[in-house]
Amino acid sequence: MEMDGGSASAPAGIEADSVSVRQGRSKIIYQFTQQNLPACKPVLSPAWVISIFFVVGVIFIPVGIVSLHASQTVVEIVYRYDAECVPESFRSNKLAYIKDSSIPKNCTKSLKIPKDMKAPIYIYYQLDNYYQNHRRYVKSRNDQQLLHGLKYHDTGSCAPEDVNHGLPIVPCGLIAWSLFNDTYSFYRGIDELKVNRKNIAWESDREHKFGKQVYPFNFQNGSLIGGASLDPNIPLSDQEDLIVWMRTSALPTFRKLYGRIEEDLDADDIISIKLLNNYNTYSFSGSKKLVLSTSSWLGGHNNFLGLAYISVGASFILIAFVFMLLHVKNPRPYGDTTNLSWNWKSMSG
């Protein structure tokens, strides 16, 4: 087979040679078989390399500065409260404290605002050492049920929080079960700052992932209570705390949006925070933090992007200089063959 193919196609190749001028298509085939396709050959000559490095560096550094600036304008206050909010008597046994529902969990702390903060000021809670990305945790949910409610029965992935007392749980699964249940309220002096708890979840989640007609059912009715319970009269699509919580985090340290303070805060304002320290992070020695942060067009306080841009840009320029120095000191004309592999190999051995 091969042989016939070979001998038949070779004359075709010859023919293509003669008629290639006329026929574009056969010309391409001819170029293909003779491996003569038009091609540009990027020669990484020193001049090119240096200029590419320079250009990248010159573009990256300003971008880095801009994003770093954006990040620096953001005022962020991080306040860890998990240890402080445990009464002195329970300090040695925090677990007993958090598990005893009879002990009131109120806790009031005050914060000083270091800089002016423009509204909206975002309130986050930050958990550490909390594996929302654990395999067992991530899969323990059912998107169909969240959207369609009780109509959807196949909730095996939610085990062990799929069925309770023989009745299905909505929303099922470990994620919903372990819903975060600390609450915060803020006072400036005696005025309560208004906290907007609406629109804290992505719109796409609210609109498309959580059903408007799906109401919590049989939720947190088991012997083990993991976290917050839900108002069975509000549809899931409006339970924004749940929606935020259900968008599982990528890392074991994560922040989730709690709400917005829609008033400006001035520097040196003293804010008192009344919080209910309900959520158990003590058993796995995770920390809980409260974060107040303004935002920029590039999001929250994160210098990483800006610094990365600047450092990458700087390294490019640095390398460009090194190359340039080398080039000036030890120029190698194009086409010089002294350094070609067979030469240096034979020199070395």
Binding site: L37, K41, H134, Q144, A250, S285, G299, F304, S315, R332
Partner: protein
């Protein structure tokens, strides 16, 4: 029928091997095992044959049928380790242990299998169509006294068939009768061995008459013959008609696949049918060669397995340590074995399997398919169609018969070349002769001219001979032409000389019976050159019948007289490579019995009658002189036989001829009895001109660091001179010559004690080797280092290849840049080849054109056949076929080098991209409590290999060129990179691994670190799937851009494929995140839209790939700078 020929071509390689090996076993004195029992066929009697249940004549070469295709085809596929591995992973991924849904692994596996199966099915379908065409072609079969057209498949053993001119034989036939007189017919065996010269077959005299249907009906014979076997050139059997037993030989057998020529029609009886025909028995698969790079690839895959194992082990231990009830929200309890904190060991083990499935993409599943595809296109489109390897004169393009070995061509370090037909043209021209101690012929051979140039002496370019030059005859000496030989001192010897030339051969005349128009069909060009010479001397052989040769003799009795003389040919003792001679016993019209013999000087001299040493000495001198001029020599001799001697011998001969077992061996033995006491006539010298461009080619190749060995059957002088002529050896080289042609050896030879001879030879060779090795060491240490050349002859080689001396020989020859082995047998050629292949572990290439090179071609890593002159046997056994030796430059330096570069790039790139991908996943595992949570969505992971990164790498495998074809021929030194395997060393792999680790770290940590705060002004946070989509986008972009960076040339196809791949990813993710799949977790649902609504996405998308490629940029820059 062309297709039919094609379908057969695959199998023909073996037949030649078989041939060789059979002759080998004969030499070693072993008895070939034969199937016990005989087959008895009743001709023209279907009922009688029905009892024997012979197989039908329909053939099937397909591998599968409708029902077996799926199971068998899948089985074939899963014999590949990579596929089996992925099958296991797929099964694993169906268990709850798996972190990924089965789709992740099943989809790519299915795609890969689908591609392979479609290819298999397509090939099989073509085979099936071929089979159908063959089975349904028709043949005339005798039924009820008439010829009836019947399809081939209906044919049965014992049927009588009629084959017309140019028709193919439908089965192995017993030749009964033909329309030609004397019951002969001519057949062409191009389908079997590619030889286009016609061969004669002769029916038994008793069956000559069965030509017409009426007559044939009366034919009732019984054939007893051997069981079907695959030996094409042997057949033993007896025909019993009317209680008479007649011996059958291959001469009466017409093999399936041959075609009838120059004969109106023949009648034959079917003996073997269908799969039992000799040609079908031969059509086994040629054992496929695997390239060394591929073997190294297996090692790489194995290493990856180890890496995978380590990664999984690490993760498994981590998971065992991590698991703890304190993470109450994960609800670790006994309900699930994998998350049972009380049994950490089980947790670790199960997690190990989880991680294996998770990290499975580290083994590139599509690698083998892609590489296969690339190689296939490379060989069929590029090598086969290269115009610079197209030989216009013979209309022969280069031909890659296997696509496995393309990149092997880029790494060849040793070339073993045949001389005749490979370095030389194999256009034989009768050039000189020596008759009765007198040299005739005034020409100066090319080699002599080369020698003259070497020594500086000038020889006036001789004017073209005035005689009408004819193909095969380049002789100019007035003393012999036009009857002038009568006036020479020894006219009788001249006459015998010419008669010997005219009679002792197996040439067939074709065309008109006039000197101008006749064409000679000969098995070898030497023969036809000799017969042509005889014609020019006035002994015109013009007609042959099975028993008679007709020669038109001029000037014999007196000047100017022309007479036609018929010589009755009594026996032909044929040429083979063991005998190295050929004899004919003929009876003159006046009743004189003469045996004419021609053959290699050694064999003839052994058999000469004692006495007349002067003539022997002079002729030997002439032989050496001819040899020194690079001419091929043959000795001619004759013996007058008395009828008593002949008759008694003939009986033995007939006996041997009709024996069923070991017929060939017995015939050889019988021939020995009569081929003795010969009288030397003289010798002939035939010039074999060098092929065009050979010296230049050899020079280029040796500059490329390739060492060329010439293995030839010629004499030492000839070989050395050819080596000089093609610039393999020059005067500045130090030559080591190990020869058996010394006086001491001859002396012992004369004593005839074989044992002593062997002992002596061994000592001699040992000492010689020792001496040469020492000298070689000195030369290598001395400054300037001069190049070394080794010349060794077959006899010495035989001892040097002895296991005890082998190492010494190898050491010596490795130090030499050129080695010439002369007087070597095909077996020795193969031995030398495998010596270097196994002993030195270098890549070897054998190139040859004839049947005697087949074993060498198969022994080497790469076998190259010269398609053209001496038949197709070498081509059939080879991996690549080219028309001219000089195309080797293109094949190696251009195609081989490119292929090597490309395949290396493809393989390392595959390695890199999958490692990078998997490592990002690996880093993630550390932050998920070693739970084996996947970072990427199932579909992302499954399509990563088959869509998002598949096409560009194929493009690079096809189009990448580091330097142009002209440049790589101009600087052959570039080829050395391939010999050193510079692009697929562990160092290269380690470099890529380093970059993969670096890039994966950058990709993962940059994305993760930059996304852990709010990412837009609304203060909202990313979840796991947002981060993963971001990371995957960066991986796809980075990996594709890295490919663009490693290209040496960029065509628009590169842009299209790279751009297309990245675009494909975006298109896919747009669609994928826009739809809800039932029963799936909608992790990615709408994610990309969220992502793309942020500035962050674009900032990160620019930053991360650039940062990831930063190191590569620097590396490439440095590399270009200092080590381009």
């Amino acid at each position: 029928m062309a297709a039919w020929r094609g379908s057969r071509s695959g199998g023909d390689g073996l037949q030649s091997v078989e041939h060789i090996s059979s002759s080998r076993t004969v030499r070693l004195g072993k008895v070939q095992p034969q199937a016990p029992g005989h087959r008895t066929v009743f001709c023209n009697d279907r009922d009688a044959n029905a009892l024997a249940k012979f197989k039908g004549n329909s053939v099937s070469t397909t591998k599968y049928d409708v029902f077996t295709f799926l199971p068998k085809g899948l089985f074939e596929q899963f014999r590949r380790v990579a596929n089996l591995y992925f099958l296991m992973i797929s099964i694993l991924s169906c268990t709850p242990v798996s972190p990924v849904s089965p789709i992740t692994n099943v989809l790519p596996l299915t795609l890969v299998l689908l591609v392979s199966l479609i290819k298999e099915a397509w090939e099989d379908w073509k085979r099936f169509q071929n089979d159908m065409a063959i089975n349904n072609s028709t043949i005339e079969v005798l039924q009820d006294q008439k010829w009836v057209l019947t399809p081939w498949k209906k044919l049965q053993v014992g049927d009588i068939v009629k084959v017309k001119q140019d028709g193919f034989f439908p089965a192995d036939l017993l030749f009964l009768a033909s329309t030609n007189p004397d019951g002969i017919c001519y057949i062409e065996t191009a389908n079997l061995d590619g030889e286009t010269n016609l061969k004669i077959r002769k029916a038994l005299e008793k069956t000559w008459d069965y030509v017409t249907p009426e007559k044939v009906c009366e034919f009732k014979g019984e054939v007893q013959c051997e069981q079907p076997n695959n030996s094409l050139y042997t057949f033993t059997g007896n025909l019993i008609i009317n209680k008479q037993t007649l011996p059958l030989s291959p001469n009466q057998l017409l093999l399936r696949g041959c075609s009838l020529r120059n004969t109106d029609y023949i009648v034959g009886a079917v003996i073997f049918t269908g799969h039992e025909t000799k040609v079908m028995m031969n059509s086994m698969k040629i054992p496929s060669k695997r390239s060394t790079l591929e073997k190294k690839l297996d090692k790489l895959i194995l290493t990856l397995f180890c890496v995978l194992f380590c990664m999984c082990l690490l993760g498994a231990i981590g998971s065992g340590v991590f698991i703890n009830r304190k993470y109450y929200y994960l609800r670790f309890d006994k309900s699930e074995k994998q998350f049972d904190p009380d049994n950490r060991f089980v947790v670790a083990i199960l997690t190990f399997f989880t991680l294996i499935t998770l990290y499975s993409p580290i083994i590139p599943i599509s690698l083998y398919v892609s590489v296969e595809m690339i190689k296939f296109i490379q060989s069929t489109q590029f090598i086969n169609n290269d115009l610079s390897m197209y030989h216009a004169e013979s209309n022969t393009p280069a031909l890659a018969r296997t696509s496995n070995l393309n990149e092997e061509l880029g790494q060849v370090e040793y070339i073993f070349s045949d001389k005749t037909g490979t370095l030389t043209r194999n256009l034989m021209e009768f050039f000189k002769c020596s008759i009765g101690g007198e040299v005739y012929g005034t020409g100066v051979s090319e080699i002599e001219m080369g020698t003259a140039q070497r020594t500086g002496a000038k020889i006036e370019t001789q004017k073209q001979s005035n005689t009408a030059r004819e193909k095969g005859f380049n002789f100019d000496d007035a003393r012999l032409m036009r009857g002038a030989w009568r006036n020479e001192p020894n006219p009788e010897a001249c006459k015998e000389f010419f008669k010997c030339l005219a009679i002792c051969h197996t040439v067939l005349p074709e065309g008109d019976e006039s000197p101008e128009k006749i064409r000679y069909q000969a098995a070898s060009p030497d023969e036809s050159a000799l017969v042509t010479a005889a014609k020019n001397f006035g002994f015109f052989f013009y007609k042959r019948s099975p028993t008679t040769i007709y020669v038109r003799e001029s000037h014999v009795e007196k000047m100017g007289k022309v007479q036609d003389v018929p010589y009755e040919i009594l026996n032909v003792l044929e040429f083979n490579s063991t005998r190295k001679r050929q004899s004919v016993v003929c009876r003159y019209p006046d009743g004189r019995l003469v045996l004419y013999c021609k053959g290699a000087d050694t064999v003839i001299y052994e058999r000469l009658v004692d006495g007349d040493n002067e003539l022997k000495r002079i002729t030997r001198e002439h032989l050496e002189q001819f040899g020194a001029s690079g001419l091929r020599t043959l000795c001619l001799a004759y013996r007058n036989l008395s009828s008593d001697v002949y008759e008694s011998w003939n009986e033995k001969y007939i006996q041997a001829k009709s024996s069923l077992r070991d017929r060939e061996k017995k015939l050889d033995e019988v021939a020995e009895l009569i081929e003795k006491e010969l009288i030397l006539i003289g010798c002939t010298a035939i010039e074999d001109k060098l092929q065009e461009g050979v010296p230049a080619c050899i020079e280029t190749l040796s500059r490329a660091g390739i060492k060329i060995w010439v293995l030839t059957g010629d004499k030492m002088e000839t070989a050395i001179n050819i080596a000089y002529a093609c610039k393999l050896i020059n005067n500045s080289m130090k030559q080591f010559i190990i020869s058996s042609e010394t006086d001491a050896v001859r002396e012992i030879e004369d004593r005839g004690d074989q044992v002593e001879l062997a002992r002596f030879m061994k000592e001699l060779v040992k000492n010689e080797l020792k001496r040469c090795n020492e000298e070689a060491q000195q030369y290598l240490l001395s400054v300037p280092r001069s190049k070394l050349a080794l010349v060794i002859d077959g006899k010495c080689l035989m001892y040097a290849l002895d296991p005890s001396l082998r190492v010494m020989l190898l050491n010596l020859s490795m130090n030499c840049s050129a080695v010439v082995c002369c007087r070597v047998s095909p077996l020795q050629k193969a031995q030398v080849t495998s010596l270097v292949r196994k002993g030195a572990n270098r890549i070897t290439l054998s190139i040859g054109d004839g049947a005697n090179d087949v074993s060498m071609i198969q022994a080497a890593h790469v076998g190259v056949g010269i398609s053209g002159q001496e038949g197709m046997q070498a081509v059939m056994a080879s991996d690549f076929a080219i028309a001219q030796f000089r195309f080797l430059t293109d094949l190696l330096l251009v195609h081989g080098r490119w292929s090597y570069h490309r395949i290396c790039k493809v393989v390392t790139y595959f390695f890199y991209k999958n490692l990078t991908f998997t490592l990002t996943q690996f880093w993630f595992t550390f932050q998920t409590g070693f739970s084996g949570q996947r970072l990427y969505d199932d579909w992302f992971q499954s399509l990563y290999n088959v869509i998002f990164t598949a096409l560009p790498v194929i493009i690079i495998g096809l189009f990448d060129k580091d330097v142009s074809a002209t440049l790589s021929k101009q600087y052959p030194e570039l080829y050395k990179e391939g010999i050193r395997n510079a692009f697929f060393k562990w160092r290269v792999v380690a470099t890529w691994a380093f970059f993969a680790i670096y890039q994966s770290l950058v990709l993962y940590y940059f994305v993760v670190a930059s996304s852990n705060r709010a990412i837009n002004s609304s203060g909202k946070m990313f979840g796991l799937w947002d981060v993963s989509t971001m990371a995957f986008t960066c991986v796809v972009v980075t990996v594709n851009l890295r490919l663009l960076m490693m290209c040496n040339t960029i065509t628009r196809w590169h842009h299209i494929s790279v751009g297309g791949s990245i675009l494909a990813w975006f298109v896919f993710v747009f669609i994928y995140s826009g739809v809800i799949l039932p029963k799936e977790q909608e992790n990615i649902y709408l994610v990309i839209y969220v992502l793309m609504s942020t500035f962050y996405f674009y900032f990160a998308l620019i930053l991360v790939p650039v940062a990831a490629l930063f190191c590569d940029f620097v590396y490439l820059g440095v590399q270009r700078w200092f080590f381009p």
